[in-house]
């Protein structure tokens, strides 16, 4: 029923977000290529490849990087079917829709005239659309690989190694932790609203009810933050969070790092020549 569609849609988003976290944990526990490398190497390496994707001007180079990403995915025990469902198809759809008008709007030499000459498809338009789609597909595949294979804590510790301030890393960690609690709370509030309300409400009332749910969530959030603060103090927090230091590089990490950087460098060199 349309009155519950908004609530249902919200509930779907909330549970999907929670579900994604669980999938990531499962993949990160596999013994594959990416999982075996130091998290900092993963972050630098995959970021270098994403940079190469954005720096290269040639679609052939970008496609080559895409193939490399697929190989890495297979070696890291990431299922191609899940990548297709999670990345390739959605990106194709959304970027495709965005890129479609570019076929006819980009000035240049016409190559096709589906509407009888008034809006011809140009060669430049075709290239632009393909280039955009290829770039986005490859970049998102690479970042998704990084995310799937690296537990959140390691992502944070890698950031710490890149001199992101300690306070910021602690906040990222705590935010992540409480997203799940608040999402669950919000989900429960919406579910109970769905089951309790009978009848159709007009738009204004529905908006007010959603705003009220958001308000209750806000109050709970502020209260939660106060309680957490006391709890931190109770265990000795004085203003600077201290954490255990993390990683050490092994020889395979150096090899992996060099491999990523070389691949990226070659791609950029060919791509921009």
């Amino acid at each position: 029923m349309s009155r519950n569609r908004a609530i249902a849609a919200t509930l779907v988003s909330l549970t999907r977000a929670l579900g994604r976290a669980l999938i990531s944990e499962r993949v990160a526990r596999q013994r594959g290529l990416l999982q075996a490398l130091d998290p900092r190497v993963r972050v630098i390496g995959l970021f270098a490849l994403v940079l190469a994707v954005t720096l290269s001007d040639r679609i052939s180079v970008i496609v080559a990087l895409f193939c490399a990403a697929v190989v890495v995915a297979l070696l890291s025990k990431v299922s191609l079917a899940s990548l297709a469902a999670r990345v390739w198809l959605p990106v194709l759809f959304f970027t495709g829709v965005i890129a479609l008008p570019a076929l006819v709007l980009t000035p240049g030499e016409p190559i096709l005239a589906p509407t009888g000459g008034s809006f011809p498809v140009t060669a430049q338009g075709m290239s632009a659309a393909l280039l955009l789609i290829a770039r986005v597909e490859t970049a998102v595949t690479l970042t998704t690989l990084l995310i799937l294979c690296t537990p959140w804590m390691q992502v944070l510790q890698a950031l710490r190694a890149f001199h992101v301030p300690q306070d910021v890393v602690v906040m990222l960690a705590m935010t992540h932790r409480y997203i799940f609690l608040l999402a669950e709370t919000a989900g429960q509030m919406f579910e109970s609203r769905q089951s309790r309300t009978v009848g159709v409400f007009d738009g204004a009332t529905r908006r007010r009810m959603t705003a009220r749910t958001a308000g209750v969530l806000l109050s709970k959030s502020v209260e939660l933050s106060n309680e957490v603060f006391l709890s931190m103090q109770s265990r000795g927090f004085r203003g600077d969070v201290r954490v255990l230091s993390a990683f050490r590089m092994r020889s395979r990490d150096y090899i992996g790092l060099v491999a990523f950087l070389v691949a990226g460098g070659v791609a950029v060199w060919i791509g921009r020549s």
Binding site: L181, V228, S234, R238
Partner: protein, 270 residues
């Protein structure tokens, strides 16, 4: 038992935004005692525990710990605060508030790290404590993946890793299944026998005899009675007045009557 006082609370008042939570409350707790703070919700038990842990400070009156007054200024110095935080531990009613780290290991390690212990020592103590509490298999788990009982165990582990002298427990058996509840009571009893001071706030009368040698009854922000568990639990009128038992009409077989009672262990106490 030596009555060396560890906490002295004198005439303490505390307000939550103009609503009085504690009104002129006074009590003394001896070192090594196990104490129960009995009271209905809203009687001020949680507030008192927070004041004892120096997380907030009274608007009137004073609290001292081992003869040292607990004031904002005192807690500002690392010299006093860090040892105090190690020696006094609070376990909240809502474990989600206490589990704010990404994984169970991090949570248990948080306290020791803030105390400034060396990494090797931290890791060793954390492993030991996790094994003690039976949560070693959860070390990399995130808090939202834990059940209620597991969360409570992690919360307990995160404080006992520091080997505190005083344990402040706020409704520790709330939301626990019967088996977890009895495991917790066993734990409290082991603390009692190792002469730690244990102060438990609860409204569950059936566990009081197991966990405390001395009981304070709180009503509307002040102490209305103090004594041994046997004395307090046999005073039906007191308990009724403090909203700790109820007196609804009920039926035994063919007889119907009403009197103060509580439902416990699926039995019916008269």
């Amino acid at each position: 038992m030596t009555m060396l006082p560890i906490f002295e609370v004198q005439n303490v008042c505390f307000d939550y935004e103009q609503i009085p939570a504690l009104r002129g409350l006074s009590l003394t707790i001896g070192r090594g005692q196990s104490v129960a703070l009995l009271g209905a919700n809203g009687s001020g038990k949680s507030t008192l525990l927070r004041l004892l842990d120096a997380l907030c400070f009274p608007s009137r009156g004073s609290i001292s710990f081992c003869s040292e007054p607990l004031t904002t200024e005192q807690l500002r110095s690392d010299e006093f605060a860090l040892p105090f935080r190690r020696r006094v531990a609070l376990v909240c009613q809502n474990p989600d508030v206490q589990l704010f780290n990404p994984t169970v290991f991090d949570e248990v390690a948080f306290g020791p790290l803030q105390m400034g212990w060396l990494s090797a020592e931290v890791v060793a103590r954390v492993e030991e404590t996790m094994h003690l509490m039976g949560i070693a298999h959860l070390r990399d788990r995130a808090p939202y993946r834990l059940s209620g009982g597991e969360k409570k165990r992690v919360a307990l582990a995160s404080v006992i890793v520091l080997d505190p002298d005083v344990l402040l427990l706020d409704e520790p058996t709330a939301m626990l299944d019967p088996r977890s509840q009895s495991q917790l009571i066993d734990l409290i009893q082991s603390w009692k026998s190792s002469s730690k001071t244990v102060i438990t706030a609860t409204h569950q009368l059936e566990i009081v005899e197991d966990i405390a040698d001395r009981v304070f009854v709180l009503e509307q922000g002040s102490v209305v009675a103090a004594g041994s568990p046997q004395e307090i639990l046999s005073d039906g009128d007191l308990l009724l007045h403090a909203n700790l038992v109820h007196a609804h009409r009920h039926t035994h077989g063919t007889m119907t009557h009403s009197h103060p009672h509580l439902h416990s262990h699926a039995r019916h106490e008269h």
